[in-house]
């Protein structure tokens, strides 16, 4: 798929786009692919965690890029999705392998993710809760 192909892009629905981006973002975090992560996250992206801490796109890219946060896996199971015009929001349960001090911990994230179709589709916000 060529994400820069304007004609192709215009034929995509928001559902097609979010299915692709949801998987790509999680893969980018697991692979620590900061270039892909920067491309997929809107510049004003925010991620609010279970404790209320807010991360910007730069914050998230930095902790992934420096290895301060390492995910060994991330598998999403969709709970619900709402589509409205050029935005969509999903609620997913994400099983995350979190590596801390060399040990792999399993956790589950209840994650609201919000997507915009503009500019090829980007994630504009995450809000998570750790089970």
């Amino acid at each position: 798929m060529c994400r820069n192909d304007r004609t192709f892009l215009e034929e995509l629905t928001i559902s097609d786009i979010i299915d692709q981006i949801e998987a790509e973002v999680l893969e980018a975090i697991v692979r620590a692919d900061v270039a892909l992560l920067e491309r997929l996250l809107h510049p004003a992206f925010t991620y609010i965690h279970s404790n209320g801490h807010l991360e910007t796109r730069d914050d998230l890219v930095n902790v992934i890029g420096t290895g301060a946060r390492v995910w060994s896996k991330a598998v999403a199971e969709r709970v619900s999705r709402v589509d409205h015009r050029d935005l969509a929001a999903t609620l997913s349960r994400v099983r995350v392998g979190l590596v801390y001090e060399g040990r792999d911990y399993q956790t589950q994230l209840v994650l609201t993710a919000v997507y915009a179709k503009k500019d090829g589709g980007r994630v504009v916000a995450w809000h998570g809760w750790h089970a």
């Binding site: 925010t46 209320g52 709402v82 935005l87 609620l91 609201t112 919000v114 809000h127 809760w129």
Partner: protein
């Protein structure tokens, strides 16, 4: 596509908070999209109907909601509000006094309606 100004989104979020505290069911329903995906700070989630019903039957009461820091933005055409609020509430007879951080997503119609929401307890 109808585009919303920041002011319209800010006003919609303020109306939502007022409607919760006053238990104004008509205003609350009008401000919520039918397909709302709402996730509470304990990870539980519900839709518009269940959320409004809990306010209507009194099993959930919002006594006061005091905004501390609200930031509204339009990201790729999507209205997003992030905020921190102090909430005094009751659920099933139990009182709560909490500080919560939330992400609220509004539709790109006029007036904007809440379509996705999640909250977290703020550790202080």
């Amino acid at each position: 596509m109808q585009s919303n100004s920041l002011a319209a989104v800010e006003a919609a979020d303020a109306r939502r908070i007022d409607a919760l505290v006053t238990a104004d069911l008509a205003a609350l329903s009008e401000g919520l999209h039918d397909d709302l995906v709402l996730t509470h700070s304990n990870g539980s989630h519900e839709g518009k109907q269940a959320f409004v019903a809990a306010i209507a039957d009194g099993s959930r009461r919002y006594r006061a909601i005091a905004p501390r820091k609200i930031v509204t933005s339009i990201r790729g055409g999507v209205p997003v509000v992030t905020g921190i609020v102090a909430i005094k509430s009751e659920a099933n007879g139990q009182a709560y006094d909490i500080t919560a951080a939330y992400t609220a997503i509004y539709t790109t119609e006029s007036p904007p309606r809440l379509i996705a929401y999640q909250a977290s307890l703020v550790s202080e």
